[in-house]
């Protein structure tokens, strides 16, 4: 007998620990149906909130378990044998995962979103492009995520970052090799508590590599920006990278993708694309320089409408993809890895010629990988190219679309978050519970007046009057007390305190009148 709050993700979804992606998704959709608010099976079984909490937990479980990296991480925590890693890695590649990936992306997006929103780096760029709106929303989900998946989301980011550098390094390497690399990177970063911190080492590596190749270094400024959003970890990383554009680019990209990622993978790619371009433009000529330098040859190709320049224009795609890279990052790293092979192939040849290109290339490779799985390959690639290079209308349009989707996704996520973890405003111990405060609490809880009325069976007219402090219209104190107690209970406040305080106010005010 284990309350569901203590169940593992596997137990929650009622799948064996060896379950494949497909199985997890089937189980998830079955359970979502079973625990749907209108499902007869849960009617009157427990409080509606409990069902909501359960659903949130299940979604969380699904997000973690369908993200290869997160699952590996989670399994490690559970003490499951490592062999599953292999399974997980192999599992993601299938197309079926697109759905999961997107979800994961969403989840992560929220987590990242927080950082992104806060982070100046992502924001400025985004703002420039019109992403401002999504940002605020992101903060909500981000907070949610932070509390929710904290460890995992962070680790996830890290790993993705890791893989990215590695991918760059090992373009042609098999997935297994990359995984190892990822693991190694984690180990290295292990010392730093925050995932972001972990990222930094990797980024540094990449940076170094990249730096070697690309010597453009406006990064310093970029880095500075990055630290604030990301917090300490980034700072550390920034120190290491010192002024390497590649590093900056990576950081920025990652952050941004996260922000955009909520929208869904499809939305992400455009956003990502824009972000890179932004980065390039705003942060420094570094990114752009790199891109340009590397892409210079490719850029023409990219500009061209041709959707699939893969072989011939490896670098160009790379540049274009750099922005997308973030989006891939958000998605499961594993998928990206899987996807990479194709991309990587074209690149391998390229790496040798331009050192810069190499640096840049790694991120792009990922991005390409991700963008493809999520959206249709052609569309994604086309989008990426457009925004990245042209900086024209197409870009804006793409961004708008991305923003729209991102907003929708974020709204969803934040709604869920609110349900799962309502945050109370700070209430002083001796606070007076007047209608205004009660209303604020209710709104913080995310309840509408009608919802509260339905649950407490108090008529919404009374509730309105309570919240508006229309003391004279309220029923006699005996009844009012009951109303207040119920309301307070529903809002998670201390019924006695609320009723005493409110009744005190009511008698005082109505007496004066």
């Amino acid at each position: 007998m284990k309350p569901f709050a203590q169940q593992t993700y596997y137990e929650l979804l009622e799948v064996p620990v060896t379950a494949q992606m497909e199985e997890i998704h089937v189980a998830y959709s079955r359970l979502m149906e079973l625990y749907a608010p209108d499902s007869i099976a849960v009617y009157a079984l427990v409080d509606a909130d409990q069902v909501d909490v359960l659903r949130a937990r299940m979604t969380e479980a699904m997000e973690i378990l369908t993200d290869a990296d997160l699952r590996v991480e989670y399994d490690k925590d559970l003490g499951l044998p490592a062999r599953k890693v292999a399974e997980a890695v192999t599992a993601p590649p299938p197309v079926a995962e697109v759905g999961p990936t997107q979800r994961a992306a969403e989840a992560l997006a929220s987590a990242v979103g927080a950082s992104a929103a806060t982070s100046p780096v992502a924001t400025p760029e985004v703002a420039g492009k019109g992403m401002e709106e999504p940002e605020p929303e992101l903060s909500g989900p981000a907070a949610f995520r932070a509390s929710f998946v904290s460890g995992y989301s962070l680790s996830y980011v890290t790993s993705s970052l890791q893989t990215a550098p590695f991918g760059g390094g090992f373009m042609g390497m098999p997935a297994a090799g990359r995984m190892d690399g990822g693991a190694a990177s984690t180990v290295e970063s292990g010392s730093s508590a925050a995932p972001v911190a972990q990222v930094s080492p990797k980024t540094v590596d990449t940076g170094t590599e990249a730096t070697a190749a690309v010597s453009v270094a406006a990064p310093a400024s970029v880095v500075a920006e990055a630290p604030s959003p990301v917090a300490a970890p980034v700072a550390s990383s920034s120190a290491a990278p010192s002024g390497e554009s590649p590093v900056v680019a990576v950081v920025a990209t990652t952050v941004q993708p996260e922000a955009s990622s909520p929208a869904a993978s499809s939305g992400e790619s455009p956003v990502a694309a824009s972000s890179p371009s932004d980065t390039a433009g705003s942060s420094a000529a570094d990114a752009s320089a790199e891109a340009q330098g590397a892409q210079a040859p490719a850029s023409p190709a990219a500009t061209e409408p041709e959707p699939e320049p893969e072989p011939s224009v490896p670098e160009a795609p790379v540049v274009a993809q750099v922005p997308p890279a973030p989006s891939p990052v958000e998605d499961v790293p594993v998928p990206s890895v899987a996807a990479q092979p194709p991309v990587a192939e074209p690149q391998p040849p390229t790496p040798a010629p331009p050192s810069t290109s190499i640096v840049v290339a790694p991120p792009p490779s990922r991005s390409t990988g991700t963008s493809r799985p999520t959206t249709s390959p052609t569309g994604a690639s086309a989008q990426t190219r457009g925004p990245g290079r042209q900086l024209g209308d197409a870009q804006v349009l793409a961004q708008d679309a991305a923003i729209a989707t991102a907003e929708a996704a974020m709204a969803q996520v934040s709604a869920r978050v609110r349900e799962a973890r309502p945050r109370l405003p700070e209430i002083a111990a001796d606070a007076e519970f007047n209608g205004e405060l009660l209303r604020r609490v209710r709104e913080t809880r995310g309840f509408t007046l009608q919802q509260v009325a339905d649950r407490t069976r108090i008529s919404s007219r009374h509730l309105e009057n309570v919240e508006a402090d229309r003391y004279t219209l309220l029923p006699p104190p005996v009844y009012l007390r009951g109303i207040l107690m119920n309301l307070a209970r529903e809002l998670g406040l201390d019924p006695l305190q609320v009723s005493r305080s409110y009744l005190g106010l009511a008698s005082e005010k109505s007496g004066k009148k």
Partner: protein
């Protein structure tokens, strides 16, 4: 003689026995406290909380199905306030009823058993006219429970009334199989959950003396917004005080299995309500429920009631009758009885 384990303070001896020996005893082994009298091999209680969901119909037809399988079955109409099992079986107004047994101290249970016309199936009709028939006194209930445990039959089927009064619940939790009849409707599901919760808390209450958790159980049963809403909470509290006791408590609670029967399923989706309910119940309460299967909504069943005949006899090939036979077979399988071919 008392069993070492659960002798509940307020519980009838029957409960003590039922709780004390989760492992099935050898066939026909008499319970320690009941002399040489034989005990029914298995007790099936049919409840459901809500009225009009087919408890009596399920009881009667299940009785017929088991009797047709060659087992001796005794049906008891424990719906003291609204007895009508005899009508389901086509037995006229019975001369002797449960209330005769309860009123006259000297009467034996055998004196109120009436035949049903179905071989191997006999009936104890419910109380009829007495004004307070439904308000069983504690001593009377004890007597009834004890006597029922000593009844001779392969299967004792208790047809319970609606509601979650202790008179109903106590019969339910003494059974080996607590059949919970549910209609695929919110009202019925709601009452079924309430009934199941009441059953488990009642069981807890009966075990409380042993575990020293009176306060906890009482508060769990009475609080409106209290923290002790689920069995998990109760167990958690007990565990804090007495981890070993909590283990046993948990085991004993889990030993009591509720088995679901979905009645009047009209759509294919309705057929799966039992599984869904069992799954949700387990998720939140951590206790297994079995889904015995669904009975299709069937006009034949309704017509059979109009004719005052069990549908299993009236129309043995109707979907409802077939479903009941499947349920009976499943019960027999659970009990490890070889399933005789149904005639």
């Amino acid at each position: 003689m008392r069993l070492p384990m659960s002798k509940p303070s307020r519980a009838p001896q029957a409960d003590a026995r039922a709780l004390g020996s989760p492992t099935p005893e050898p066939v026909h082994a008499g319970p320690p406290g009941l002399g040489r009298r034989e005990r029914p091999r298995r007790i099936i209680a049919v409840g459901g909380g809500k009225g009009g969901i087919g408890k009596s119909m399920v009881s009667a037809n299940l009785g017929v199905a088991l009797a047709q399988s060659g087992l001796n079955v005794l049906l008891v109409d424990a719906d003291l306030g609204g007895a009508n099992l005899h009508t389901c079986l086509g037995v006229g107004q019975p001369e002797a009823t449960l209330s005769d047994f309860l009123r006259r101290n000297k009467a034996r249970l055998e004196d109120v058993i009436v035949p049903t016309g179905v071989p191997r199936l006999s009936l104890i009709a419910g109380a009829q006219d007495a004004l307070d028939a439904a308000n069983l006194k504690y001593a009377q209930k004890q007597k009834l429970l004890k006597t029922l445990l000593g009844a001779q039959a392969d299967y004792l089927i208790l047809d319970l009334g609606a509601g979650t009064s202790f008179n109903t619940i106590d019969f339910f939790i003494m059974a080996d199989h607590g059949l919970l009849v549910v209609l695929p409707e919110p009202t019925s599901v709601e009452n079924a959950y309430r009934f199941a919760k009441a059953a488990f808390f009642r069981r807890l209450q009966q075990m409380e003396a042993q575990y020293g958790i009176q306060d906890l159980v009482d508060s769990a049963l009475t609080t409106r917004e209290g923290s002790l809403r689920t069995l998990h909470d109760v167990l958690e509290q007990v565990r804090r005080k007495d981890p070993v006791g909590a283990e046993r408590l948990e085991r004993e609670l889990a030993a009591f299995r509720i088995r679901l029967v979905v009645n009047q399923a009209r759509t294919d989706a309705d057929l799966n309500v039992g599984t869904a309910v069992a799954s949700a119940w387990k998720k939140f309460f951590g206790i297994d429920m079995d889904d015995l299967g669904a009975i299709r909504y069937d006009d034949e069943a309704w017509r059979a009631v109009r004719k005052r005949r069990p549908v299993l006899i009236e129309r043995p090939d109707s979907p409802a009758a077939l479903a009941i036979q499947r349920i009976a077979a499943r019960l027999l399988a659970i009990d490890g009885t070889p399933i005789p071919a149904t005639p």
